[in-house]
Symmetry: C2
Subunit: 435 residues, 2 copies
């Protein structure tokens, strides 16, 4: 049976740095943390510790030579006594410390983690990710990501969606023209899934309402600030919709839930999500952007103009553009079902812009076998690789739709990062396959 | 702005099948569902509908020829009136229906989904996954998986763990001898990550406590009932531990949280998780199993014997085996720190068995740079491919440990599935890359 060895000196449980102000002054405490910074003055030295909860100050008067073995980032155990000191962070500090290193003296970090802001180029940030993420400001941007994931799932669990796990290795068919990675799969060629699109649609046939959070892969040859070879896709699909407005209503609740969890972090970061996301038709969006009426898609400049319009007209950071030209959307997109519009045939597909940048793509999908047969014939798509997928439709599917949110784009807009790589723990791109 | 078209007849919102008994008798309702079964009697026909919430019975007296266009699995909208009928499921049924098909007549499914149990071979189940998962009994086994994921995350969120997303494409170093898949990565060779082990350890240096739910990949050439080429790994890692017992304490809480969410489904499936998981040392486990004292590992038969012992002696479905021989564990495993034992050098690595089958692998890891240098020299491992990883340790890491749970193994034990493929939505193996 269990063989926990008795500790000497008598067991004292760990106090987190942020909990120190709640400890009665005079108490003995045990801290375990990183050395965030050493500051040596003439008569005294200060050791600033960092753990997952925050910072704490330790005062070292006797035996200051011990600090030589505790350079910044070394992990350490500190036993000491809590005293009040109004000029210390949190109003308390730890005195008379017994210092026990938990590892060997740490090497000097590639960036000064104790400075309030992290002054380093992108390459340094990414090359030394395991260390640079330790900086409190940088860590907060990932906390925004983690909170967003909590809010996403909590909202959908509340709406009785079922979480699913789909295969990331697929045999052939892919749903858009995106470039895919090839895998040597036991001597055959497989591909990394560029999205869970086809499987999530099939699973609407099982669970009606599904979501998945997972990695998706794009062999993006473009070296831009917005593209990654692997990103985290937040996918949703739901059945028995009237049209894409039912999908937009769920998207609105999801974004509100994500923003609420982010706001609860107290980092001063959030998106105001209105009760209803303003919706403009694609043709109106072109007109707002001052673009010719026959443009087939919105350029980034057009998106910025539409975002500015939404803020000015509706006070909203978010705006949905519906009715995109059908020809510009994937084959499974449902044709426009709203009032007739001039121009090329439209679709029930939408994009949602956050502060003028595309954040979400979604829409209503085709759901009848005859509609799939027709569109594949029209677009010259061979149905053979899609045989497994189309079988779900032959056996009865409801009208349905869904959307996908790119986690890294969402976080980068929220925290104001210029490049999605800054908010990705270990980004992968054309040049980067490590660390 | 929004262009929702007015519905005719006047809008009536959808009622789920399971909510029918709560509707006042005589009310008009709107159902949207699959045709689960048609039953034609001499004077009347019954249409049993299925939606995500359950089943409902519709009575068709007039115009029974309309049912020809509604074979099983066709999706349909039904407007009708609720009446009490004590012999109907739920005590109510819908009469005077207006039936509107939502798609074309469905093809006959490859299995009879309306039968109480699904009588089909594994190949049929898997080849027609999108349809066979619609069977209510089969769907319930995935609901166990989804509930387990909720319980896993809720427990760890409560313990202030941070969710992370690690790269699934890696450049070189892998942490065990498992066979990996090769990917053509922009003309270079990349590998699919066999686990998030190295990245999750690095991230303990940032967040102290991390978890990830995600796909992992093994190029398993074995065609067994327990192995998949892609499975869902529930990974946890935490810092500032005394030894592996701190890791086991978190694992206990996680399994209890997962089991509680599963039990709440009301499917009669759960695992009784004791306040403390019984722990036996590897040498005791060998002795319980009647194996020679110099065996290097536990065979499946040994594991069954230890599982039976835990149930008999401790009334527990779960048992942890600690102190596995160091040589049989990955290089990052921490040596045994408990009381001295006879035999080969042990480790702070453990396995947890559920009903006599390995479910979890975990333990304390090495955390000092010198320990890594020593073990790599001893095992003849070239440190160069691990340079990025080892840098995290050079810059200060706390004592830490963690574990990984295989979702599919957990679910298969809970629901009594003989093969993990039965509880995987779209399994991937040596032979299977579709649907």
């Amino acid at each position: 049976m269990s063989t926990q060895s008795p500790s000497t000196p008598p067991a004292l449980s760990r106090t987190l740095c942020s909990a120190l102000p709640d400890v009665p002054p005079g108490s003995e405490v045990l801290l375990r943390a990183w050395v965030h910074r050493r500051r040596e003055l003439a008569q005294v030295a200060f050791l600033v510790l960092r753990d997952r909860s925050g910072l704490a100050q330790v005062v070292v008067r006797e035996g200051r030579e011990r600090l030589a073995a505790l350079p910044e980032e070394t992990t350490v155990e500190v036993r000491g006594r809590v005293v009040q000191n109004d000029s210390a962070p949190g109003g308390v500090e730890v005195v008379d410390p017994v210092l026990t290193p938990l590892t060997e003296p740490a090497e000097t970090p590639p960036v000064e983690l104790w400075r309030p802001s992290l002054d380093a180029g992108l390459a340094t940030l990414l090359d030394h990710a395991a260390v640079t993420w330790r900086h409190p400001a940088r860590r907060r941007s990932w906390e925004v990501a983690a909170a967003s994931l909590r809010g996403f799932r909590a909202t959908l669990d509340g709406l009785r969606f079922t979480e699913v796990c789909t295969p990331k290795l697929v045999g052939g068919a892919t749903e858009t023209g995106a470039t895919v990675f090839e895998v040597d799969y036991f001597g055959r060629t497989a591909y990394l899934a560029q999205s869970p699109q086809l499987h999530k649609q099939q699973l609407v046939g099982v669970f009606e309402r599904v979501y998945e959070v997972g990695p998706v892969f794009r062999a993006e040859p473009h070296d831009t600030a917005r593209h990654l070879a692997q990103y985290t896709s937040l996918d949703v699909e739901l059945g028995f919709v009237e049209d894409h407005h039912d999908v937009l209503a769920v998207l609105r609740d999801v974004l509100a839930g994500m923003s609420a969890e982010v706001a609860a972090l107290g980092h001063g970061v959030e998106v105001a999500v209105p009760d209803q996301i303003p919706v403009v038709h694609f043709s109106e969006a072109l007109s707002i952007a001052g673009a010719p009426a026959d443009e087939p898609d919105l350029s980034p400049a057009h998106e910025r103009a539409v975002g500015a319009w939404a803020l000015a007209e509706h006070g909203s950071d978010l705006v949905a553009v519906e009715g995109y030209p059908l020809a510009a959307r994937p084959f499974y997109t449902h044709p426009w079902t709203g009032p007739e519009r001039p121009g090329a045939p439209g679709s029930n597909g939408f994009d949602v812009l956050l502060r003028g940048v595309e954040l979400v793509t979604g829409g209503q999908r085709l759901h009848t076998p005859s509609a799939y047969a027709a569109v594949m014939a029209e677009r010259g798509i061979d149905p053979a690789p899609y045989a497994d997928h189309l079988r779900a439709f032959a056996h009865g599917m409801p009208p349905h739709g869904g959307f996908a949110i790119g986690l890294e784009r969402w976080v980068s807009r929220l925290v104001g990062a210029a490049n999605v790589r800054e908010v990705t723990l270990y980004p992968r791109d054309l040049h980067r396959l490590s660390p």
